[in-house]
Symmetry: C2
Subunit: 111 residues, 2 copies
DNA sequence: TAAATATATAAATGTCTGTTGATATGCTCA
DNA sequence: TGAGCATATCAACAGACATTTATATATTTA
């Protein structure tokens, strides 16, 4: 960089890998459905499967990915395994993304 | 859904497709580098190519994707084509993502 | 221990996507 | 008009990923 980048943005540059990984895990609609569903509180896998009408292996797969990115916490209770949001701010991020998306659509210059 | 989901989250559910698409465009590190570089103001393609040390077709490809998601605006000036951030709040989102990522790492329960 | 349920994992597949190298398009100037 | 630069597009390829089907692991109960 030419040295004209504000310091705060330079900090960003060093974290772009992590940011991209986070955004990647938010880039699948089914994973987002799971996250938003978990906003109500911890849920078992079977519950998620029922509610979201997804196959059980698919839900497990996505939960694994969400766990890998630390977006959810896991807890076993008997035969059930409960997943919960690791941080409620995740929902805020989704709402911010929705707001920006809406605004971008409203302000777009090319139709 | 069982009706136990807060209304504001129900609104989210209807926009998950758009949110996922937005997150998807933020899920590539090179695209993020471009966005952060554009935070300084509009830049020509060749400038981006030089600064980020990426091939010119690759930069064009990513810019096309960013434009498709309305994250950047395009403007021609002679032989040069300038790209700029469509909304400065995009940077805020990146910073929020970085902050959450950091917090998730700090608070993770499984090591 | 056997059966039943809950969840995870494995294998296979088709699709998407990031990247490269080559080429086309568009603009400017001589 | 032709040469040269800036940018976009195309073709090809490799790797990633979402999804499905089938199977394995773990827990509870009879």
């Amino acid at each position: 960089m030419s040295g004209i980048v504000p310091k705060e943005n330079i900090e960003l540059f060093e974290r772009l890998g992590d940011i991209a990984a986070l955004a990647r895990s938010l880039s699948d609609e089914n994973r987002l459905r799971i996250l938003v569903y978990l906003a109500d509180g911890k849920q078992s896998v079977s519950r998620i499967v029922e509610e979201l009408q997804l196959s059980q292996p698919l839900v497990s797969h996505h939960l694994k990915e969400l766990k890998r990115c630390l977006l959810v916490n896991v807890e076993r209770n008997g035969p059930f395994i409960y997943y919960e949001l690791a941080d409620p701010r995740i929902l805020h991020i989704l709402k911010d993304l929705a707001a920006i998306g809406e605004e971008l659509l409203a302000n777009r210059k090319t139709f």
